[in-house]
Symmetry: C2
Subunit: 345 residues, 2 copies
């Protein structure tokens, strides 16, 4: 990566390095217009591209913002990524991407890598987990983040404070009211459903999943309904599919009418696909709701009831677009939870 340097430009323009620097990169001191032109022309002629690394080193600020997601191809994360990217652009920064599959150990590595690159801030989009097996890695992650903050870094977390963080200094948490919204959803569903409820959740310990489950149960309780059974599975489409297969059997054999709450849209789609493969139709034989209101999934039929979350905005906030810290969502009841008329729902 050899390119022409500032001193080459300076020499060609017949000025000093300092002067060239002043005209090419904004400085408070303003060189004369004629000399400035000479420098600009020289730069142009040499195809000068300032070395951001060197600049960063000299003024110790990299203009980088690190983003950590579980999987960039997951529409939930890519929507957040869009928001982060937008905020970065406004701040004249670039975003550094890391996908970690949700493993705290890999997240820790990513944080270290971002810190090494002296990222101005780091956004952690993925849900953290409190599983025992992750305890050690989580501690490592927290330590790495704390150190990063202590060195002046800013971190934006979506959803939950980082487990084990020893300080709040430098942290910005974008609170997502998962629990409240899930409770809202439960209450609204309770209004129209006499059926039993089942929750298809992610692995225990995943905060996002746990919050939504807790909220849903609370909502049911507030509506005077018994708690829903909870099925634990993978926090993705495949997990939903597996759960769907299990549920299909129950629905067809026991002819129970069930209202299913999958803790995210992608899982809900998986459940639906599995049910359909077994001849169980939504909303004829069972109803289902998801969470997130993923844009790409809105044309799905039957239209999926869900909870809208302003994902892009969440990304913007986590990236520090504005100081505000919390967002809100709203229940979207659609076709997938419409109990057929005249049915003993």
């Amino acid at each position: 990566m050899a390119a022409s340097t500032l001193s080459e430009v300076a020499r060609l323009a017949g000025v000093s390095l300092a002067t060239a620097s002043r005209v090419l990169n904004g400085s408070s001191r303003k060189p004369a217009e004629d000399i400035a032109d000479r420098v600009r022309q020289a730069a142009d002629k040499l195809g000068y591209v300032p070395n951001a690394q060197a600049q960063a080193l000299a003024k110790s600020s990299s203009g980088l913002i690190g983003l950590i997601v579980h999987d960039i191809a997951d529409p939930y994360f890519s929507a957040i990524a869009r928001g982060v990217q937008g905020a970065a652009r406004e701040q004249n920064r670039m975003v550094l991407l890391a996908s970690t599959s949700g493993s705290p150990a890999e997240e820790r590595e990513a944080v270290a890598a971002f810190a090494a690159r002296r990222a101005d801030s780091i956004v952690i989009a993925g849900s953290r987990s409190a599983r025992d097996e992750d305890a050690l890695a989580n501690a490592g992650l927290a330590a790495e983040l704390d150190r990063y903050c202590r060195n002046g870094g800013h971190v934006g977390v979506v959803g939950h404070p980082v487990v084990g963080a020893s300080t709040t200094e430098g942290y910005r948490v974008v609170e997502v009211p998962n629990e409240e919204l899930a409770a809202d959803l439960a209450r609204e569903l309770a209004d129209s459903h006499d059926a039993g409820f089942v929750v298809v959740a992610g692995p225990e310990g995943l905060f996002t999943s746990d919050d939504r489950v807790r909220g849903f149960q609370r909502g049911l309780a507030e509506a005077g309904r018994p708690a829903a059974e909870v099925i634990r599975t993978g926090f993705n489409r495949a997990g939903g599919y597996d759960a769907g297969l299990a549920l299909a059997e129950r629905i067809t054999s026991a002819k129970d009418r069930l209202c299913i709450f999958a803790v995210n849209d992608v899982m809900a789609i998986g459940v639906t696909a599995a049910l359909r493969s077994k001849g169980v139709w939504i909303p004829r034989d069972a109803t289902i709701a998801g969470f997130d209101d993923i844009e790409t999934l809105r044309d799905f039929r039957p239209a999926l009831s869900t909870v809208f979350l302003p994902l892009e905005e969440i990304g913007r906030l986590a990236a520090g677009a504005t100081e505000g810290g919390s967002v809100t969502g709203s229940v979207k009841l659609r076709r997938s939870t419409e109990v057929p008329a005249g049915d003993p729902a």
Copy 2:
């Protein structure tokens, strides 16, 4: 972003800077084990994180790979991004992300920014355009890329060579057989359809779109069919929706049976949604096929006929995961193009 430096570590460990460098960052020369331990302990105690900027400056290789997409939230791009990210991880690099909305001017800026950061390579995922209005910006983009390559950079392009590149040095093009695959699709559809064909395409000049249109027409011709009418619209869901509204009218009034080819899946979904809103059902009243085989859309019903493209692999290749340069796809006929039995298709 103040953090402890190598020299602080060296001092605390009572060794020289060079020695500290050798033990902490891989070097061919190996210091003694006891001294190495001292250094590592000192580093650990100080929470030393190497400054990647400084390292990059010193050995002029940044370990960065730049990725340019139109919109990271578009599943097509996020799938490619996953591949790039994977390749980057294997190469021990990090990916820098830029979204440009497809504007060549913004792409040029992104390339400049990547060049400034001395990215080891740049991947351009978005389709380039040959519209007259973009000519100037395209020239600028080509110039920027050429310069980048001349300075030793590598660029990976998916689909098409960059318009106006003056050299092939440093370029790696991942050829996507859009035209051939679209022709395959057309031939297969011609087998089962007596109906007329309509193509819902992106704006003229967009290479990806144009190739698919051309291929489709060629396939029809080879099957002895008249050329399809082409509707130009936005290369996204909204564009598809608009086209769908127009088509709905024609389908319901003229009761023509139509087989629609939308040049990508997202557009196909838009078309389908519009048709549905007007009471036109797929595949009962019309049939439709897309392109890309987007993963998130596979559970869509009626299942969308499309052309599978190994997007993640494309990303890997463009990022230089391996030297191979071309990929292949395959036609996936599914429910959306199944002509109802006994119907005069």
